[in-house]
Point group: C2
Chain length 367, copies 2
């Protein structure tokens, strides 16, 4: 099938690599192509370019996205011409933290308390309602810890507002979580749903650094709770494709943080660590094919390569290490690749992970 993709970063690259074996062909619409060079056809244009969108529609049997900050109007323009999955409505919800939190609440997912903060006075009122500590975040365009500030004492409000204004914001109550988890889920055109094992995520400097899957110590009850949440979300959105929901684990229960209406960094381990990868199942879903098994294959750790790449030979010498370079120029804070280490058991995994970690710049990790 001819698949059009809005965006042409590493997620698009890995979609294409999963899609060629299924017989698909790819066209990417991307303003600054880099990671998908040499894979399929590129339309190098801004996402809002009407002629480029029409060219993408003409070249595609189905369109999807690998980036959620695509203008919703662009997705809707495409959807008038060709099937677009996930539905543009899912983009709309996921692009706005306020709509997203309200939607989670409507779906019965526990969230942190939240309140809108559309101005300096509204911010003060929101903090009064929610209390401190809290986090203020821009409603739109936040990622990798950008567009947010922690509020610990009342005096923090001015600096936070100066940094984020005039963007409309949301204030969220502080969640004293034990760890961050994510659940990757996929829903087919026929409504069939499947979830991968819960993933434990560690961050450094606001950026995902490491994912462990299956999440160590996650009980079947926790997995079942996460899956139930994911199914509700996907069904309510009439969703087709892969989505990720980030969750906080608090005293053994789950608090929904945010969702990504696309394949997700915390699902990269599925390429080697699951029977069917998130990339393949996303393509199966959007093309109307049956979903593949999401069962884990061994235990996996995914480590992001950020800023620069360690020496290839040292990575490739680690047993069970699978290198994924993204074809992007190195730059501080930029995701330029990842390594998934797979092993038969957690003991062997820990040993291999230790060797890999020693190759990377030391970086304090936090949930």
């Amino acid at each position: 099938m001819r698949i059009g993709v809005l965006g042409g970063g590493q997620l698009g690259r890995m979609l294409a690599l999963a899609g060629y074996p299924l017989g698909h062909e790819f066209t990417f619409l991307e303003p600054a192509p880099e990671a998908t060079r040499g894979l399929g056809t590129l339309i190098a244009a801004p996402f809002a370019d009407a002629a480029a969108l029409d060219a993408l529609a003409a070249a595609s049997d189905v369109v999807t996205y690998e980036f959620e900050n695509v203008p919703v109007a662009a997705a809707r323009r495409l959807a008038d011409r060709v099937p677009v999955w996930p539905p543009p409505g899912a983009l709309e919800v996921a692009q706005d933290r306020l709509l997203e939190k309200r939607f989670f609440a409507d779906c019965g997912l526990p969230t942190a308390p939240f309140a809108v903060a559309d101005g300096r006075e509204a911010l003060a009122r929101a903090v009064e309602t929610i209390g401190l500590p809290a986090v203020v975040k821009t409603r739109r365009h936040g990622y990798d810890g950008k567009g947010q500030a922690v509020l610990r004492v009342p005096a923090d409000l001015d600096a936070a507002w100066a940094a984020l204004a005039p963007a409309p914001c949301i204030v969220e109550g502080w969640v004293d979580f034990a760890r961050e988890l994510s659940i990757l889920a996929v829903r087919g055109r026929d409504g069939a749903c499947a979830c991968w094992s819960l993933v434990e995520n560690l961050h450094g400097d606001g950026i995902l650094r490491r994912s462990l899957a299956p999440a160590p110590g996650a009980t079947p009850a926790l997995q079942a709770a996460a899956e139930a949440h994911a199914r509700t979300v996907l069904e309510r959105l009439g969703y087709v494709g892969v989505a990720a929901i980030e969750l906080f684990e608090v005293d053994g229960s789950l608090v929904a943080n945010e969702m990504a209406p696309r394949v997700h960094n915390s699902g990269h381990w599925t390429i080697e660590g699951a029977e069917t990868s998130q990339f393949e199942n996303h393509l199966r879903a959007v093309t109307g094919a049956p979903l593949g098994s999401t069962a884990p294959v061994g235990v996996s750790a995914m480590v992001n390569l950020i800023g620069d790449l360690p020496p290839d030979a040292a990575v490739l010498a680690i047993p069970g290490a699978h290198l994924h370079r993204y074809g992007k120029a190195p730059r501080p804070g930029r995701k330029v690749g990842h390594v998934t280490v797979r092993a038969a058991d957690p003991g062997a995994l820990g040993e291999r992970l230790g060797v890999l970690q020693a190759l990377l710049a030391a970086e304090p990790l936090r949930p």
Copy 2:
């Protein structure tokens, strides 16, 4: 690294899909590009085209091949300009059944008795020496059962010669084998060697139909014997990259049949069924990277899709089935894709394989 590939069929396609994650870029020289369209850069020209070869050399840090009937002169022309692996000398041996058999004998590998048959009289003399039944094969350009004839009674000689002459031929004594196996091996630039598990191969109509890996019932002693043969062959050739050696199992010992100086159809199962695939390890070898583990992951069956493709949805619905389409137009007898079914144990594998086999045209299989 910039990798040049002579040939642009499905093997080139799968090399590229394995190579992007390692950060490599690809240029294919191929007279009739099809399977590698949309992957890297194509130079559409005959293999003997000097300007095209020079363009490939200029675009590459290292050159390899995915097809062994590339003219040796083309490989040597490239080797004057850029590193070429496997070495052109390995092509030369593998392209000629007589040189190949003599080389096996020099390496101490048991082979069927053989004799040269460069004319009708030489054929008669060869059959006198070797006895009947025997097989007469063209020395060059045979594949998938083409370019050969079985000789059962003296009266068969005329028809066989009429079909194959004036090509120089070789006569091989009949081997009453229990089954055909193959050993896939890889050798790095540093001389390190690794082998995957022995594979059992079944044919239909002279074409490989199914491979089972690890080969059922292969003893550690048989595996060790095959590995020792493979190491000898690779070392003697100063080989770098993946090679396949086809072997007959006769009364529990091995008789060498032929070798392919490239990734091989009987190694496709390694994409899902081994820690590191033949494609990735071939690239690791020719680029001078450390080799990856060849350990099996579960048990696998690889089934070729020949002539036409079964309905995708039916294949994808089989648990553990991994579809690989080659992007080639259907045509009788043509390899247009394969499916690897992976399972944790032979019982589950057999069940899944039964479902897959029912989707394919019934075809009597023989070793």
